[in-house]
């Protein structure tokens, strides 16, 4: 009896396990044996507009070890030191990394193995059954520093990135991915470039060894993208700026495509892939020429006289001036009701000037009067329409671009806790005072002017690979209209646009144009405007002498230009820090770029005298 009773106890327990709790234990058993191994997708490549690769995936070799497979790890490290030149830093990193891996899974020990190291390892492989060499894709930027400020780079996913991915619910796609776009195009188009992770469902035994493959979902590679960048132009501009702290933005005014964006000096983005050494990084940080700083998007410079054509449009539209109205310039302008005098760059004055001459000769007093008549509120309203004080909306993360400052009463109150004074308005008329702008903003404003108010958002993306496949044609569909921003400037009287452009044309080809010297002999017609931003405030009786002032206090040279005049193909904004006079120094760079782009000519030799003698002319 007792026996039968006890047998029933056993049976009841078995029934409880096998029938009542079957699904619980079944799941448990499956969790034991089934493991999902994620496979990272390969990252999309980045090309320039002509199909030249700008960011590619190189294959590198990495040594992985399964620490559980060996007992004397330290002894093995000693052995490996001789073979793959293992350093103590590698071992330290490995010990840190190790905690993030499951048991019986390979942990990376040394990356970027050289051919020699691989060869030596393979010969002795039998001694290290716990180690293996695996191929990994490694992001490589063939043009290094030349494109860093555009492309950015990818680097190891950090806690912040993880948090962002979690918020955006993308963690599952990144389980096998080590790097993520940190800056520039790599960051902005991360979702396009990254692709979708795949996985392998495998059966493992109790020691974690893979027994067989159950299911396989291959990863979906990231998409290749083509940028509007013209690599040759980019490299040419870079070569022109060598040794200078400068930035150039070139845009195709017909569609807002960025043809080149140079910020000099730069740094090699390849150093950041897979982590930069702290020594190298602090060197970059401490460099007084600030190579990490993207001048094209973050550099806020006084736009100086380059704003005069835009102010003219505003003044004409508001009726503050008419195309015919004339102002006398004695070489200074006095703020009515005060003793305060504002000087013109030309000490003896330009005499009687109308709007065309005011632009051609960059007459400061004319624009002092205009600014006085317009007032800061109207100036702010109109210049905001040209995009000043606003982000350009370019396809680079918003925190990598500054709004700069288009000052207003509210802005000053908020920023300086002081109310706006009339005296603050006057220098705004010549793009100085509180007004700052980035090279990208200047280029965008110029593009808007070229298109009589039609505004394109500047952009790098030309097309994605899927744009070709989807349309089943070899040519991708590019629709520039989707980059058009609604702007009330399109309602401005066309004659005003024509006037401003004519003035800019005369800057380069007029009898008294400020940049006529550097454009002598050009085979095409062009338009432009120079600017010289004061870094150093001159005292009342002091005269500017570039040679007496330390370099970092010298004026910034600015220049905006477009060509050909009747059918523009390229719009430029140039800022050369401490470059001296805008018309000569900035103008010369503009001339060379336009010659190169329009004529394929990179041999323009400009008279050195022209750039050194003109001094403070603007």
């Amino acid at each position: 009896m007792v026996i039968i009773l006890l047998i029933f106890v056993l049976l009841a327990n078995l029934a409880d396990l096998q029938i009542s709790n079957f699904s619980y234990y079944s799941t448990k058993s499956n969790n034991n044996r089934i493991e999902i191994i994620p496979i990272p997708p390969s990252r999309g490549m980045i090309y320039d507009r002509n199909g030249t690769p700008l960011a590619i995936n190189n294959i590198t070799y990495q040594l992985n070890i399964v620490p559980d497979k060996t007992k004397n790890l330290n002894e093995q490290f000693e052995q490996l030191k001789k073979i793959v030149d293992l350093t103590d830093e590698d071992i330290e990193n490995f010990q840190k990394e190790r905690r993030n891996y499951r048991a019986h899974r390979p942990v990376p020990l040394k990356e970027n193995l050289t051919e020699k190291q691989i060869a030596r390892f393979i010969v002795d492989q039998h001694r290290f059954p716990f180690a293996s060499i695996v191929k990994i894709q490694h992001r490589y930027y063939p043009y290094g520093a030349s494109l860093t400020h555009i492309l950015g780079y990818i680097s190891k996913i950090n806690t912040q990135d993880k948090q962002r991915l979690e918020e955006e619910n993308k963690t599952s796609d990144y389980v096998a991915t080590f790097n993520i776009g940190k800056m520039g195009i790599e960051r902005y188009y991360e979702d396009v470039l990254h692709g979708t992770a795949g996985n392998e469902k495998v059966e493992v035994n109790s020691r974690g060894r893979i027994v067989r493959l159950l299911e396989q979902h291959p990863p979906q590679a990231g998409e290749d993208i083509y940028l509007s960048i013209n690599l040759k132009l980019q490299l040419y501009i870079e070569s022109l700026l060598a040794g200078r702290k400068a930035s150039v933005v070139a845009i195709d005014p017909n569609n807002g495509e960025v043809l080149a964006m140079v910020s000099n000096p730069s740094y090699d983005s390849n150093d950041f892939v897979g982590g930069i050494s702290s020594k190298k990084y602090s060197e970059l940080l401490d460099d007084p020429s600030k190579p990490l700083f993207n001048r094209a998007l973050l550099g806020a410079y006084p736009p100086a006289s380059t704003v005069k054509p835009f102010i003219s449009i505003a003044a004409l539209s508001e009726g503050v001036v008419s195309p015919k109205s004339v102002v006398n310039d004695p070489g200074w302008w006095q703020l009515p009701g005060t003793e305060r005098r504002y000087r013109d760059w030309l000490k003896w004055g330009h005499g009687h000037v109308d709007v065309l001459r005011a632009i051609e000769e960059s007459v400061d007093t004319y624009f002092y009067q205009v600014a006085y008549d317009m007032g800061i509120d109207r100036l702010n309203l109109w210049m905001t329409k040209f995009g000043y004080g606003e982000r350009t909306g370019i396809d680079i993360s918003a925190n990598e671009e500054t709004r700069a400052v288009m000052p207003s009463r509210e802005w000053k109150l908020k920023r300086h806790k002081k109310s706006w004074l009339q005296g603050d308005t006057i220098p705004v008329g010549i793009g100085q005072g509180y007004w700052t702008a980035t090279p990208m903003q200047m280029a965008k404003a110029l593009t808007t002017l070229i298109n009589n108010g039609k505004t394109f958002t500047p952009h790098f993306l030309l097309y994605k690979k899927s744009d070709i496949i989807n349309t089943n044609q070899s040519q991708p569909i590019i629709n520039p209209e989707k980059y058009v921003e609604p702007n009330s400037l399109v309602d401005v009287n066309p004659t005003y646009w024509a006037l401003a452009k004519e003035g800019m044309h005369r800057v380069m080809f007029g009898a008294r144009g400020t940049a006529r010297k550097v454009y002598a002999g050009a085979k095409y017609q062009a338009a432009g405007k120079s600017g010289t931003a004061q870094v150093y405030g001159l005292k009342e009786n002091e005269t500017y002498n570039a040679h007496k002032i330390p370099e970092h206090l010298r004026d910034h040279a600015l220049f905006i230009a477009y060509a050909p005049y009747d059918k523009p193909k390229i719009a430029l904004a140039i800022v050369i820090e401490n470059g001296g006079g805008g018309s000569s120094n900035g103008g010369a760079v503009a001339r060379k770029i336009l010659d190169y782009y329009l004529e394929g000519d990179n041999s323009t030799e400009l008279d050195d005298a022209s750039s050194s003698t003109t001094g403070h002319e603007d």
Binding site: I7, L11, N13, Q18, F22, N32, N205
Partner: protein, 368 residues
């Protein structure tokens, strides 16, 4: 009884029905071992040799008359004690326990011999003074049980020690004991248990008992075995995953799958149905064993065969209870099914003794 066919079984002193159930269970064991060993042909060969040796031992043991067992019991008991002492001194250590004696050709577990020697000795001793035994005899009997039990527990082999105690106690019980003794025994047990817990048990055994009540206490350590075993059994469901298809056993999540935890393999691959079939076979064998005991003509024969078959049941109960998580993991193999030579041979020897008791009664009656 004059039937010629019956007289063939009679001649070799084998009970055909009892033998049939043994054979069926051994067949089951071979079938599941192919799966539990991970299709290890060497292990299969060894198992076949173990089984053949087992049958040989059973037949040999069946030939001796019950009277000779009665006579040899003290000698066997003394030899057993000597060997156990030797093991404690020179034993071959395996898994932190000295259980093995290496004789060069074969290694065997002498504690297994105690499983036969103790019940034999107890049965003889108690039987001598008539049943039910007086108090003095009972206490002496307890000493007889106690000595080898302590020696085995020192190895330490808690599972076998428990079985040895059981084998002795069952004999006393079957000899017809005063209820007061049982009460006293229970009180003694209550005193003995804490002593055992603090002084006789090894840390790993204590851990096993603790994790019995809560396997999740230490899922990677001691609880791991029970959790994996319960997972194997539970995931088998009603019909099982199929022969050689048990993922827990084939992928080695299940510990000691061909020895102590072989029942989990059966439950995983053949499900609840397969477990019931196994339990029915065990039950048939036990019932047949009890019938043999009931039919025994001498008190010695009755208490001995009854004691042996009850210990066999305890064997089964402890093993299945342990792998399915209602008893602590004490290291008791599943009789007839688990892989292992010493245990099988001793078991077959005890079956041989039972058959001897059963088949020699007619001779005795003839003599009388």
């Amino acid at each position: 009884m004059n039937n010629i066919k019956k007289s063939f079984w009679q001649k070799i002193h084998i009970d055909p029905l009892f033998c049939l159930f043994i054979t069926l269970l051994l067949g089951y064991s071979l079938y599941i071992l192919w799966s539990a060993s991970g299709q290890d042909i060497d292990m299969m060969q060894k198992r076949v040799i173990q089984i053949l040796l087992g049958f040989f031992v059973m037949i040999v043991f069946a030939q001796f008359s019950p009277r000779s067992y009665e006579q040899w019991a003290p000698y066997l008991y003394i030899i057993c004690i000597i060997i156990l002492v030797l093991v404690d001194i020179f034993g071959y250590t395996s898994k932190g326990a000295q259980r093995w004696l290496d004789l060069g050709v074969i290694r065997f577990q002498p504690s297994e011999i105690a499983k036969i020697a103790v019940p034999l000795m107890v049965a003889k001793f108690i039987h001598r003074d008539g049943c039910p035994p007086p108090l003095k005899t009972t206490l002496q009997t307890l000493a007889i049980i106690g000595v080898p039990t302590l020696l085995v527990a020192m190895q330490p082999d808690l599972g076998t020690a428990i079985l040895i105690v059981m084998s002795g106690i069952f004999i006393i019980f079957l000899a017809g004991i005063n209820w007061r003794f049982i009460l006293v025994a229970l009180i003694l047990m209550a005193i003995f248990l804490p002593i055992m817990w603090f002084y006789l048990m090894h840390d790993y055994q204590r851990e096993r008992v603790l994790t019995l009540f809560n396997p999740e206490r230490d899922p990677n350590g001691t609880g791991y075995h029970i959790i994996q075993s319960k997972t194997a059994i539970g995931s088998g469901g009603i019909w099982g995953k199929g022969w050689l298809e048990g993922t827990q056993s084939q992928l080695e999540f299940l510990p000691e799958r061909h020895t102590d935890f072989i029942f989990s393999v059966i439950a995983e691959e053949f499900g609840f149905i397969g477990s019931i079939v196994l339990l029915i076979l065990f039950l048939c064998l036990i019932i047949r064993g009890l019938i043999i005991a009931a039919q025994a003509q001498t008190t010695f024969g009755r208490i001995l065969s009854g004691g042996l078959i009850l210990v066999f049941f305890v064997y089964v109960f402890i093993n299945i209870g342990m792998v399915s998580g209602i008893l602590p993991v004490v290291g008791v193999p599943l009789p007839l099914i688990s892989y292992g030579g010493s245990s099988l041979v001793v078991l077959m020897a005890s079956f041989g003794i039972m058959m001897s008791i059963h088949t020699h009664r007619y001779m005795l009656s003839k003599n009388i």
